[in-house]
Amino acid sequence: MEIPYTYKPRPDTGLYNAKVGIWLFLASEIMLFGALFSSYILLRVQSPEGLWPIVEGGWPSGLLNIPIGTFNTAVLITSSVTVVLAWAALKMNNFAAFRRYMVVTLVCAFGFLGIKSFEYNEKFTHYELRMTDGSAHTGHLEVNGKHPGFWDFGAIYNLERLQSESVTEVKFTFDPPKPKPGEKQEAHAHETKTIAVGDIAKLRTFTPSTHTFFGIYFVITALHGLHVLGGALVLGYFAFPGASMWKSNPEQFTNRIEVAGLFWHFVDLVWIFLFPVVYLL
């Protein structure tokens, strides 16, 4: 006996096996991200005030780059549209259009990851500086005339490293002050000052361990990024090496694109929730 309903729908449920499977899988994914979002809410609600002098109140906001996040949202939504168009093209028996739309989807997927890694790099090279006089600042650091390059962890300093390498002074470019609500952002030049290492009380970049906000931001977005990568690899397989199935079993191939597409929409949907929650609120 062969396994039935691998691509033909079962009459009473109206679904083929893989479609039932992917919906169940997505249900479990909702519980996974649901738990992480719940953790985010709980961590934020009970976050103690004044723990981190960089921000007012208990929870940081405005530390992420909203224009880039918005752009990335648009990229991901575009890919969600093209993956549907790719599936529709197969339904209309137009393989060339399918391949075109898949390529656009893949470009969007890897574009998203590229932009995200730019954002990560931005955070890993963005410094929190606390002076011995108690003032706290954020900005970028220049040591011996050098800025860290892209994903250049070797060029990231903290206070202990500066001391152990006997650096006496560094250049620090301060972030422009944040406008109060209702105020207009003034055109403000980035101010750069030379700071003696002896005046620094604490120096570190924005990493997961900086604050639970960055912790949960990095964990959720990294997990989401892994989902994007996994989805992109599967879609890439179906667009190129796996596409030979279009000749042998077009119906099953179309179903595969549909199922992969459902996963892709889910990944998109997670981002639709993630973007307002971590960037805007």
Partner: protein, 598 residues
């Protein structure tokens, strides 16, 4: 196969159905996609882990009865393997803690769940619904391999510097994070990575099971004609699917607490050994407990529902009667599935989460006992007026009923907020959940092994050895777990490496019971030897079955050739009736198989 019961299929005949060429060793035994082989792989692996977990607890029991004395025979071996942690062959407190944590983890996640869900679910479910295999055979193989490597990782964690995880099977933060703080690759990290792998395995398995039951039911197999075992697996599948991901999330968060030094579960100003921990703080230890128990409580029903399913099959078959209240049992199983998601915080009454929250969870906890009692009652009433065959599987199934009953009823004082405050974290809790899992679930697993062994191999297991196994197990289990209630009510804490000798106020009775429990545990261990002999000897030497349906059962798993070939059925089965039509008035035989027209 509508007249399968009157035929006798020699194994040679069964092979004729298999059109595929004979696969090689690796294809057949290791990388098999056949649900029956995967079921057997799960079964043997989880039985190994069951034994492994038992050996861990035997070391702990010896330590409890004879604090700091060197363990005879085995202690030398332990010192050889683990070095200083078992210096002189006796257990250090750290080693006791790590054995305790790993005993819990291994028994729950590597022994019982894979045995109940992976082994029996895989082998029996497709047969009972009349399917040729699982819906996704390769995914099924992947589930097993993930489970296996997750288990290997767990065992390997004993050998990393500092030893395995030692913060209890619940791995409460901040203890789990600070226990080996600063060592990035410690036992806890291994535990978390292992858990994430095991959870992934369970998730893929659950997707596969639910899809199979929804999509691959044979013609005529409507929902209310499903055997109760299949219903139990179906609900279990949903529990695994929806309850495990939050623990996966929690695992990822604790992993980043350990590796990236985030503070998800670490509060402000945490001081360890007189020094403030160099972390940002601002996290919540309670969050870990919420996420853990959101899995933890449905997990209890993951352990018990398949057991109830197996017991139902065995009881219906051996009383020669339809199950009493089949429909109520199905609805009860569904209610359990739903309610089990809203009772988790009854494990957390002592955390200070507030009396209002406690009251809510106390209420839901009392509610969930109702469907459990419904199922148990239905099974008890099913015995009424039956002509019972007391064979080994039936003895285990019958013992399950009062043993699970004791386990369930002793849970009520723990479900009430007021009485739990006294009993929490005492040996009473240990007694309670071991009654549910050991003479409860494990007895049902034994019943299932004795019951389906003839279908898997074509031979019966030995009845005499089986009965010796049963009676020793039953007596020893009670001698082990019943005294724990007394110890617990006398205030003995569950986490003491010396059994409470150093504990001010520990009385003689509690300490004497430690010794008697250990003796009973040794007896329990010896009682498993006949089972192990029986299991392996019967494969070649057991009495041969007379036909494909030796127990004269009604469900479709007995309508296959013995052992079932690749693809299971000789012809596509068609179902005409409900699952338990035994002793129907006016019929010639005392059973009407589901695929028999009249």
């Amino acid at each position: 196969m509508s007249t399968a019961t009157s035929h006798s299929h020699a194994p040679a005949h069964g092979h004729a159905v298999d059109h595929h060429h004979e696969p090689g060793f690796w294809q057949k035994y290791i990388f098999s996609t056949d649900h029956k082989m995967i079921g057997i792989q799960y079964g043997l692996t989880s039985l190994f882990f069951l034994l492994f977990g038992f050996i861990l607890v035997m070391c702990m029991r010896f330590q409890l009865a004879n604090p700091e004395a060197p363990i005879p025979v085995f202690g030398k071996l332990l010192e050889l393997i683990l070095g200083d942690a078992a210096k002189g062959g006796s257990m250090t407190a750290d080693l006791y803690n790590s054995f305790g944590a790993m005993h819990g983890t291994i028994m729950v996640f590597l022994a019982i769940v894979p045995l109940a869900f992976g082994a029996f679910g895989n082998y029996v479910t497709p047969l009972q619904i009349g399917a040729p295999d699982m819906a996704f055979p390769r995914l099924n193989m992947a589930s097993y391999h993930l489970f296996f490597w997750g288990g290997v990782l767990m065992i390997a964690s004993f050998f990393v510097p500092g030893g395995s995880a030692k913060s209890g099977w619940t791995s409460y933060s901040p203890l789990a994070t600070v226990a080996e703080f600063g060592k990035p690759f410690n036992g806890q990290t291994m535990w978390l990575i292992g858990m994430v792998i095991l959870i992934t395995s369970s998730l893929l398995g659950a997707v596969n099971f639910i899809t199979t039951i929804i999509q691959l039911r044979a013609k005529g197999m409507s929902w209310m004609r499903l055997p109760f075992f299949v219903w139990a697996q179906f609900v279990t599948g949903f529990l695994l699917l929806l309850a495990f991901p939050p623990l996966e999330a929690a695992g990822v968060l604790q992993l980043s607490d350990n590796l990236l030094h985030t503070s998800f579960f670490l509060p402000n100003g945490l001081v360890v050994s007189g020094q403030q921990l160099p972390v940002s703080g601002g996290g919540s230890p309670l969050l870990w407990q919420h996420l853990f128990w959101f899995l933890g409580h449905p997990e209890v029903y993951v352990l018990i529902l398949p057991a109830m399913g197996i017991v139902s099959e065995v009881i219906a078959n051996n009383t020669r009667k339809p199950l009493w209240g089949y429909r109520s049992m199905v609805y009860a199983a569904m209610s359990i599935g739903f309610l089990s998601f809203i009772v988790w915080a009854h494990h957390m009454y002592l955390t200070g989460m507030g009396t209002k929250v406690s009251t809510f969870f106390q209420t839901t906890t009392m509610m969930i006992s109702i469907p459990s009692v419904m199922i148990l009652t239905a099974l008890f009433v099913s015995l009424w007026g039956g002509s019972i065959r007391f064979n080994t599987p039936m003895l285990f199934a019958l013992a399950f009923l009062p043993m699970f009953g004791i386990g369930g009823l002793t849970g009520l004082p723990l479900g009430f907020n007021a009485s739990d405050i006294y009993l929490h974290d005492s040996y009473y809790v240990i007694g309670h959940f071991h009654y549910v899992v050991a003479p409860g679930t494990i007895f049902a697993m034994f019943a299932g092994i004795y019951f389906w062994f003839p279908k898997m191999t074509g031979r019966y297991m030995n009845e005499l050895l089986g009965k010796i196994h049963f009676w020793i197990s039953l007596i020893a289990m009670n001698l082990v777990f019943a005294p724990m209630f007394i110890q617990g009510m006398r205030g003995m804490s569950r986490r003491m490496a010396d059994g409470g000798t150093a504990y001010y106020g520990a009385d003689d009775i509690a300490l004497t019971l430690n010794k008697s429990i250990t003796h009973a545990a040794v007896l329990l261990g010896l009682g498993q030897i006949p089972f192990i002999i029986n299991l392996f000897m019967s494969i070649k030497n057991g009495r041969k079955v007379e036909n494909d349906n030796p127990w004269k059962a009604t469900t479709l798993d007995w309508a296959t050739p013995t052992p079932p070939p690749h693809g299971n059925f000789a012809a596509e089965p068609v179902v005409f009736r409900g699952p338990y039509e035994y002793s129907a008035p006016g019929s010639k035989a005392d059973f009407l198989p589901q695929d028999q027209k009249s």
